[in-house]
Amino acid sequence: MEKKRKIVINRDWCKGCGICVAFCPKEVLVMDDQDKACWAHPEKCINCGLCELRCPDMAIELEENKS
């Protein structure tokens, strides 16, 4: 099923702190091999938005999924 909102990560702003990954209640995010956050498991995402609220770099946005 398509998520209502998708996670969009600004790789220029992401500093790879790992906060979003550590505190995601469903372990949906991972750090990739370039030390940037990545929405690796969209199917498990519950769109809680906590990653967006906790990102210190304003690098995560939940966007309307227009597909």
Binding site: W13, F23, P56
Partner: protein, 280 residues
């Protein structure tokens, strides 16, 4: 509006370290402002010096980056000058409690309608990790090689004691609570102090082997309790979060405006302008 719409985007990514709590505070302060539907032109953000004080530069409001410890003094001038403006004052440990301590207690005593955000990361980050008046006893820092020499301030107790009429505390882990508290603080007509426990993984965290940003935020999650909760009653030693003071008292600028209005009314009633007289 999106958070990005409130920022001076060309200056991002910001200068704060990876995992620094200040970015979390900035983002949620913007969300609070957005949820209150405040107009950008009605907001002035005044800071002093330090990592915390770099915040205004990134925000698309009227912004002032002033001198160390004096943010509240400048803010007082702005608020008296244009009382309709919303004046928000983000400060760090030193700005609010060391060099700026005197201005904090006087702003609180006067109950001026300002919103002070104390970004407590228990260290002086910008200058490389010296201890602050908020560093817990015995912790290490570059000027506390043998551990700090004294107790830290209890910001909530100090602000309350000095007369602040809205006093709250939260942490960078408790983001939803943070937005609600900041909203209430801005709406509150009087001097609001919001202490937000933040993390400095680069200096405070490293020097005291507290891990990184995630580990420090986990301690915020585990070692703090909601004010008035059963957990708080069970362990009074734990740091409490929530709104500690929220009361309406005469606000300084409003009281002054009432005085001037009354004086001008009396003057007008008394007589018209005589020969050779003029205002000023």
């Amino acid at each position: 509006m999106a958070v990005k719409d409130y920022m001076r985007e060309r200056f991002l990514p910001h200068i704060w370290c990876a995992g620094c709590g200040h970015g979390i505070i900035m983002g949620n302060m913007i969300r609070a402002i957005d949820q209150l539907n405040l107009k950008k032109n009605d907001i002035v953000v005044v800071s002093g010096i330090g990592c915390s004080s770099r915040m205004p530069g990134y925000l698309d409001f009227h912004t002032m980056h002033t001198i160390h410890g004096r943010a509240l003094a400048f803010a007082m001038g702005v608020k008296m000058g244009q009382p309709e403006l919303n004046v928000i004052v983000p400060m760090g440990d030193g700005d609010a409690l060391a060099i700026g301590g005197n201005h904090l207690i006087h702003a609180a005593r006067r109950n001026v309608d300002l919103t002070a955000i104390v970004m407590n990361n228990s260290i002086y980050g910008m200058t490389g990790g010296q201890y602050s008046p908020l560093t817990p006893t015995g912790k290490k820092a570059t000027t506390a090689v043998y551990g700090t020499d004294s107790k830290p301030f209890d910001v909530v107790a100090l602000a309350s004691g000095a007369g602040a009429t809205f006093v709250a505390r939260t942490t960078t882990y408790h983001v939803k609570e943070m937005v609600d508290i900041i909203k209430a603080a801005i709406l509150h007509k009087g001097f609001s102090v919001v202490e937000i426990m933040s993390q400095c993984p680069t200096y405070y965290g490293r020097k005291n082997k507290m891990g990184g940003a995630v580990e420090i935020m986990e301690t915020f999650q585990e070692k703090t309790v909601k004010l008035g909760s059963k957990k708080a009653e069970a362990d009074p030693e734990l740091m409490q979060r929530g709104v500690f003071v929220q009361e309406i008292q005469p606000e300084y600028v409003e009281s002054y405006q009432a005085l001037t209005a009354a004086l001008q009314k009396t003057a007008q009633k008394g007589r018209g302008l005589g020969k050779g007289e003029h205002h000023g």
